[in-house]
C-alpha cells in the first residue's frame, strides 16, 4: 500500500472532477535498458473508483499508460461525498487513497 498516491476531488455544478496521480514506474515490458536487456513489465492493470462506497468507474489499463499515471474522472455527486480509488499492478501491489469532495 502506498501513501504517496495523490488524489483531489472537486465539485462544480453537480459534477465531481477527480484527479489521481499514482507514482509508478509503468514499465511496458518492451523497453530495453542501456545494456540491451529488456526491462520486465511492471504496470497498473486494474483500477476502481467508488463514491460513498458505490462503484462508479472500473478500469482495465494496458502497458501503454505513462510513467506516474495521471488519471482524471468525472461523475455526478456533491460536496462532502467520499471518493475512494484502488489500483492494482501486475505485481499484485495495491494502491489506494480516499478523499472528501471539496
Amino acid at each position: 500500500m502506498s501513501s504517496s498516491l495523490r488524489i483531489m476531488a472537486r465539485e462544480e455544478d453537480g459534477t465531481i472532477l477527480v484527479k489521481v496521480i499514482i507514482p509508478h514506474p509503468s514499465e511496458s515490458g518492451l523497453r530495453k535498458d542501456e545494456q540491451g536487456n529488456t526491462v520486465p513489465a511492471h504496470f497498473i492493470m486494474e483500477g476502481s473508483v467508488t463514491l460513498n462506497g458505490v462503484p462508479v468507474v472500473a478500469l482495465e489499463l494496458g502497458p501503454a499508460v505513462s510513467k506516474d499515471p495521471f488519471l482524471q474522472f468525472r461523475f455526478k455527486g456533491k460536496k462532502g461525498d467520499t471518493v475512494n480509488v484502488i489500483f492494482l499492478d501486475n505485481h499484485n501491489e495495491q494502491f489506494t487513497a480516499e478523499t472528501v469532495v471539496q
Binding site: T15, S26, S28, L30, R31, M45, E46, G47, S48, V49, T50, L51, V54, P55, V56, V57, A58, L59, E60, L61, G62, P63, A64, V65, S66, K67, P69, F70, L71, Q72, F73, R74, F75, K76, G77, I86, L88, Q94
Partner: protein, 145 residues
Amino acid sequence: MKRRQFLAAGTIFTAFMALQPVALLAEWNAKNFQHGSLKKAFINTLGTDEIAISDQITIVAPPIASDSSSVPVEVISSMKGDQLYLFVEKNFKPLVFKCTLLDNSLPWFSLNIKMKESSALFAVVRSDGKFFMANVRVEIQSQAC
C-alpha cells in the same frame, strides 16, 4: 467469546472486507491487451471491427507531441455510454484502457499515454450495446519509448 477475541476477530474481518473490492474489480482480460494489429485488437476486445464513426465522440490530444512517453489524451462523449476504450493503432498492444462507466459517471476520461510512433488514436464508446468511434492523429517528434 471474550472481548479481546471479539476485537481480534473483528479486525481480521475488517481487513478481509477491505481486500474484497480488489477481487470485485473489472477482471483484467489478457486477451484484450495482446500484441497485434488494430483490427485484431478491435475483434479481441469488442468482438467486431465494424464500428460506426460518430461525431458525438471527441478525442482531445495534441496534434504534434514532443514527448512520446507522455501524451495527454482526453476522451469525451456527448452520447450516453457504458464503456469507453482507447486504441493506439501503431502501438504493439493497441488497447490503452477499457473504462467501464457505472451509475452516475460521465463519459469522460483523461490520462497520459505512451506512443511508439506517430499514429492514429481511436476512441470507442459502447452505447446501447452498439459501438461508435472517433479518431485523431498524433505526430510524434522524438522517440522516447
